[in-house]
Symmetry: C2
Subunit: 406 residues, 2 copies
């Protein structure tokens, strides 16, 4: 027999299957109410618009929609996204845009061009699990900065910035897993600190369009340009966003916006990774966007998800034990629950699944700790299912707290 | 200003834009007859079948075709491919299959799970450019084994095998760039040597279905199983093939077939890289395949490409100087031309493009050397354009040989 284990690269020892993906499999049983995934509501997918777009693309572009295309992405979609990201006084050019295979590939490609093994990176605590999975290969030294209800506590950044990190990774809007949003004042402070220390930021913004309350805040790429006095996207921010949460994740369409020298390196990494994105799906995404459908659709998504968030927050208030606390997001798909220190959310998950309800344990979102936290998604289940699921989970938590007093 | 150059990882110093991709851009001008790309003939894309498949998928599967799915790929397509790859006495299971984003991602993911920096790998000379691009990050030591008209000269393998390479990389059918096919006797010899030395093979087979003359030869995964006495795909071969050349490259659909422990590692790498392939395109590919359309379509492709190959071979005979030699492929999309040693194909390309004809210089396909070779593609241009393009190129070569006698 072939001894494959002797062949695998050293870095594979640090790889493991993503818990979320594995849990998704367990919770696909229809009787389980799953708050575990990050799945958008399938009943809100614009199936008929996608069908019409696919048809129109094949009629109007023919074989061109099915042929090889450029690694950067189709020009039409790059131009559309550049215009969408431009702001008064700040021009984003199509040359600043690279189309990628979902937000996960954005994170992966940025890692490929920036990290040498053992590099330092600043991350929020908690932070996005998919980033930790993608960058495991580089054996990074994470400089972990705490968060509160206003996001990353920028006052605590300077000691970490002085350690010469390659990058700061942030999800400033409705962060996954907490749903917390970085305040306007902290955005300005963060950009100021980054400029002072010659530091760069990866701004991961898959949820920014999904705001249900409060006011929109400027993206870090715009704040950074303002601080540096730039009128082009040529500062210290690599930005990424995605069509997964506002159109459909199965199309795997996302993009990176960055200074041209960074895009140039990313294109080289993209060529080695998979040559280019799906030509057909790029044209479909462009068709759905170009006449404004996506903007109307985003308003519908906001209304539906706002209701689900409100239903979940009300149910938590009603059903959860007083020992639990949770975040109150202004948008996005997630909130995070803290239970008393002695309760291990990973161990509790087995019991939760027996009671037909699921979540993601928080430790996967932490470089260290987080065992007494878990993430709840409120976009995928109906309001009725949310109420029932939170009831099941609340009953379990109350039992556990009686069973194992602190 | 931000000094991005100081941020980039050391490995990016070895990265550069793929010449083929850059040349593709130059040769998109309609007056240039390009033999440079590896583009299939767009007029043969089954646009109506893809349109009908997209429509049917959205009707029958609805939102499920647009939602997140598993990293391994949709079960229907994995099962179809497993059955397609099974042979009498050799069962390939759906668990042996991972769906990937084009053949390039197959090569990239295999690199991620196998290579530590500086590892050794056995490659053919010449070899596939896209592999060299994907694996540049690992700074590999290539053990280069020559080829002749029957493919890799397996008699020359043992000294390389004794140096403990991580992998042998081969394109056994209609190799890119030469169009050469590994003979049946050498397949058996290769598998025997691999088993004796505990070596493993990456069998890259994007062109195997496109045979225009001669008889089909068994795949290396099947020969390997026979040599090792295995009835399951559990030997020393990682196999990859693609829908790009038999359906449409813009869908970015390919697959890897490998022993389950290898698939397990590859799935972890896939999760970090981009989570999963496009759900919609996977269902489209499955729809187009499941009722046998793809097999009928392959027969049509063979007829059309056979004609183009024959036209190119006849034109080469007629138009090229007697100092040139070229390979005579039994299938695939490419052949390779050797010109006298003192002619540099990269330098000559500028003159060729001025005369409205293009090719890919051969040095990109070589770890070392190959400056007096170039690759011609015969799948993308019509027979008339092939004749005209070869006429232009032949005239140029004759002039250069007169201008710069050896």
């Amino acid at each position: 027999m072939v001894n494959w284990n002797a062949k695998f690269a050293a870095r594979t020892g640090r790889m493991r299957r993503s818990s979320i993906r594995e849990i998704l499999k367990l919770t696909q049983r229809p009787d389980v109410i799953s708050f575990a995934g990050g799945l958008p509501a399938p009943e809100l997918f614009p199936i008929e618009q996608i069908r019409a777009a696919a048809d129109r693309v094949l009629t109007e572009r023919g074989a061109g929609a099915l042929q090889y295309s450029t690694s950067e992405g189709i020009p039409e979609l790059r131009s559309y996204l550049a215009a969408r990201m431009s702001r008064p006084g700040l021009t984003v050019s199509p040359d600043n845009i690279l189309i990628v295979q979902g937000g996960q590939q954005a994170i992966d490609l940025v890692g490929r061009i920036l990290f040498d093994e053992g590099d330092r990176a600043i991350v929020e605590s908690p932070t996005y699990l998919g980033m930790l999975v993608a960058w495991r290969a580089y054996n990074l030294n994470y400089l972990v900065v705490p968060t509160d209800q206003h996001g990353l506590i920028t006052e605590l950044l300077p000691p970490a910035l002085r350690q010469n990190p390659k990058l700061m990774y942030l999800v400033p809007n409705f962060q996954n897993p907490q749903g917390v949003t970085l305040s306007g004042a902290r955005r300005a402070h963060l950009a100021q600190l980054a400029a002072e220390h010659g530091s760069v930021i990866l701004e991961d913004n898959p949820y920014g369009d999904l705001r249900y309350s409060g006011e929109d805040l400027p993206s870090l790429y715009a704040v950074d340009a303002q601080v540096r006095g730039l009128s082009e996207l040529n500062g210290g921010v690599i930005y990424t966003s995605s069509f997964s949460k506002i159109l459909a994740p199965g199309l795997r369409m996302a993009w990176i916006a960055a200074p041209v020298p960074v895009i140039d390196k990313l294109v080289q990494a993209k060529q080695g990774a998979d040559l280019q994105c799906n030509t057909f799906s790029q044209y479909i995404a462009y068709e759905v966007c170009k006449d404004g459908f996506i903007d109307a659709h985003i308003l519908r998504l906001r209304d539906a998800y706002r209701q689900r968030r409100d239903v979940m927050l009300a149910a938590l208030e009603r059903e959860f034990p007083e020992e639990a606390r949770w975040s109150k997001p202004d948008g996005g798909l997630f909130l995070m629950v803290h239970v008393p220190q002695h309760i291990n959310a990973t161990e509790l998950l087995k019991e939760a699944i027996e009671r037909k309800v699921a979540y993601v344990p928080g430790d996967d979102f932490h470089v260290e700790g987080g065992q007494n936290t878990f993430r709840l998604n409120y976009s995928n289940a109906s309001p009725e299912m949310i109420e029932e699921g939170i009831r099941r989970l609340g009953a379990l938590l109350k039992e556990v707290i009686v069973r194992q007093p602190a």
